[in-house]
């Protein structure tokens, strides 16, 4: 019965999806279904992107506390976006098709991620505290630089950026969906194809080298995949700080003896249930009084502290 958690989680997700599409629908179905369907597709895509990028990042960095957003992947995305608006001007940025901005941003993020986080992982291998500290300083630095830069630009230009700087699950950029979906599915297929190799990489540098894996090359590849996935989720809904940590830790609780062949789907399902179910509850029960991202970050932040303290006293 190896696939039991996957089966149960899929059932829960199916219930969430059906409820999300139907509960409280007042208008004509021909309007409600495509409208909600677009948002649902966005949520699912973000869920997949965040869980997969977090799993890969934890594998290549060799720890279970850090996630791409904690070390500043999405802060770097915001910094790059601000830079684009600064250099190109708000008018040009708006007049460019969103797809072009997204493509440019993704490309820059991928190269920046390899340079910065590639060095971080190689330099701090096996030194978890140093990696956490450097990562958090990176993230703070990117955010501070972004804020500084935004103060230097025109208030009108600032508005262009602001829209992209907050997580918002109710207003998903559905016009980016086709391209984002295409990119994500390519990346996800690659991540899945290499699932057995990630298992070896998780053993650590020396053991993986001994088993014939080119650790450096595969780490760079993983960082490129992570950067692409972070671009997708940040472009669609903005930065989400602790969602990845929350869902991947839950997935590890559900199935402790993890290989990537099981961890990747379980984390994706947990992530999708959290987003779709959470958004359903927020929209229909709390009538949007609290954004989902606030609740997720609160829970995820608490979990982050818990994991840090547990590691400290082990």
């Amino acid at each position: 019965m190896r696939s039991r958690p996957v089966l149960y989680l899929s059932l829960v997700l199916a219930v969430c999806v059906v409820l999300y599409m139907t509960v409280g629908a007042k208008g004509a179905w021909s309007f409600v279904l495509p409208f909600r369907g677009g948002k649902l597709a966005g949520l699912l895509l973000v869920a997949l992107a965040i869980s997969t990028s977090t799993v890969l990042f934890q594998t290549v960095s060799g720890n279970r506390i850090l996630t791409p957003s904690i070390v500043g992947f999405d802060a770097l995305y915001g910094l790059i976006l601000t830079g684009l608006v600064f250099f190109l001007g708000a008018q040009t940025t708006i007049s460019l098709p969103p797809i072009a901005v997204f493509g440019l941003n993704t490309g820059l993020l991928m190269s920046g991620a390899v340079l910065l986080f590639g060095t971080l992982i190689v330099q701090t291998r096996g030194d978890l505290l140093r990696m956490i500290l450097t990562g958090i300083i990176f993230a703070t630095l990117f955010r501070a630089l972004t804020a500084f830069w935004q103060r230097m630009i025109d208030p009108n230009e600032f508005q262009v950026i602001q829209g992209a700087s907050y997580a918002r699950f109710n207003r998903i950029e559905t016009d980016l969906l086709p391209l984002a979906a295409l990119l994500s599915f390519g990346v996800l297929a690659m991540a899945w194809h290499k699932r057995r190799q990630w298992d070896v990489l998780a053993l650590g540098h020396d053991a993986a080298t001994n088993l014939g894996v080119r650790v450096r090359r595969e780490t760079v590849l993983a960082l490129l995949l992570i950067a692409a996935l972070v671009s997708v989720s940040t472009a669609l809904v903005g930065p989400v700080a602790f969602l990845g940590l929350l869902v991947v830790s839950l997935a590890r609780l559900i199935d402790p003896s993890v290989t990537h062949a099981r961890l990747l789907p379980i984390a994706a399902l947990v992530s999708a249930i959290t987003l779709v179910g959470g958004q359903l509850v927020m929209e229909r029960v709390f009538a949007l009084s609290t954004p989902l991202s606030v609740v997720v970050d609160l829970l995820g932040g608490l979990l982050f502290f818990f994991l840090l303290l547990k590691g400290r006293f082990r």
């Binding site: 934890q58 060799g62 720890n63 279970r64 096996g126 978890l128 057995r196 190799q197 298992d199 070896v200 998780a202 053993l203 650590g204 540098h205 020396d206 053991a207 080298t209 001994n210 088993l211 014939g212 894996v213 080119r214 402790p256 003896s257 993890v258 290989t259």
Partner: protein, 252 residues
């Protein structure tokens, strides 16, 4: 044969290896000995490509390790690795099965399962095959890692101070097992040892290193002498001959 040519290696500006050229013979047990900081572990890590070479070259059976396919090299040479803490919660048999990765890329065949079972038997791990690694003692965990590289089925096995965590029974058991591997399966074993007596008792060849250079090579009987111990280790332990055997007397 592992041939090391003019290898020099610096860490933070300090030379750890100075122009080392050395051939490690195929078949048999080769022991690397020498005082702390002599560069033995560094040399072993370089041979196993765990660290990149700075200068010089290393060939394994005529293949240059920097240019040959690292996946293919993993079927010829293995090193006993340290395993990181955050590694997934593996069971013993999961870990040993990773030894077959270079051959089957994670899709285990019936043959692979047979080899894994043999390997678990050989290291007396069969009754703890389903235990999680983190519940094992240091010695048992190392045993599981040994079983993994045994399952890897390589001609060359490199071991960096494997006796560190072991009591005398386990240490003698391991050395006997390595002897059997070398004698019955014609494998080549390169092992870093601290205790010269183990090297004298079990190795076919000795390589003595000091301050990043090779001080002597040859059979244990030829190499180990009172004079060498005085010179290399700067201590006056006596070498005793009992019949054919040599022993280092560690008493005052």
């Amino acid at each position: 044969m592992i041939s090391i040519r003019n290898v020099t290696y610096d860490i933070a500006g300090k030379p750890v290896l100075c122009d080392v050229s050395l051939d490690l013979p195929r078949h048999g047990v080769t022991a690397l000995i020498g005082p702390n900081g002599a560069g033995k572990s560094t040399l072993l890590s370089l041979v196993a490509r765990l660290m990149p070479l700075q200068s010089g070259g290393i060939d394994i059976d005529g293949q240059d390790i920097t240019t040959c396919d690292t996946g293919a090299l993993a079927r010829v040479l293995s090193i006993l690795p340290q395993i990181q803490d955050a590694a997934p919660r593996l069971t013993v048999s999961d870990l040993v099965a990773f030894g077959r990765y270079p051959h089957s890329r994670g899709r285990l065949t019936a043959e692979d399962h047979r080899i894994v079972d043999n390997s678990l038997d050989a290291f007396r791990l069969s009754d703890m095959r389903n235990r999680a690694l983190e519940t094992l003692s240091g010695g048992q965990r190392q045993n599981a890692l040994l079983a993994m590289i045994f399952a890897q089925g390589t001609d060359y096995l490199l071991l960096d101070e494997p006796l560190n965590n072991l009591d005398i029974a386990a240490a003698r058991g391991l050395m006997t097992q390595l002897r059997t591997l070398a004698d019955e399966q014609q494998r080549s074993i390169v092992i870093v040892l601290h205790d010269i007596n183990y090297a004298l008792a079990y190795a076919d060849h000795l390589v003595v290193m000091t301050e990043g250079r090779v001080a002597a090579t040859g059979s244990p009987k030829e190499v180990i002498s009172q004079d060498l111990i005085n010179r290399i280790y700067r201590t006056d332990a006596a070498v005793i001959a009992i019949g054919d055997r040599r022993l280092v007397d560690v008493g005052p």
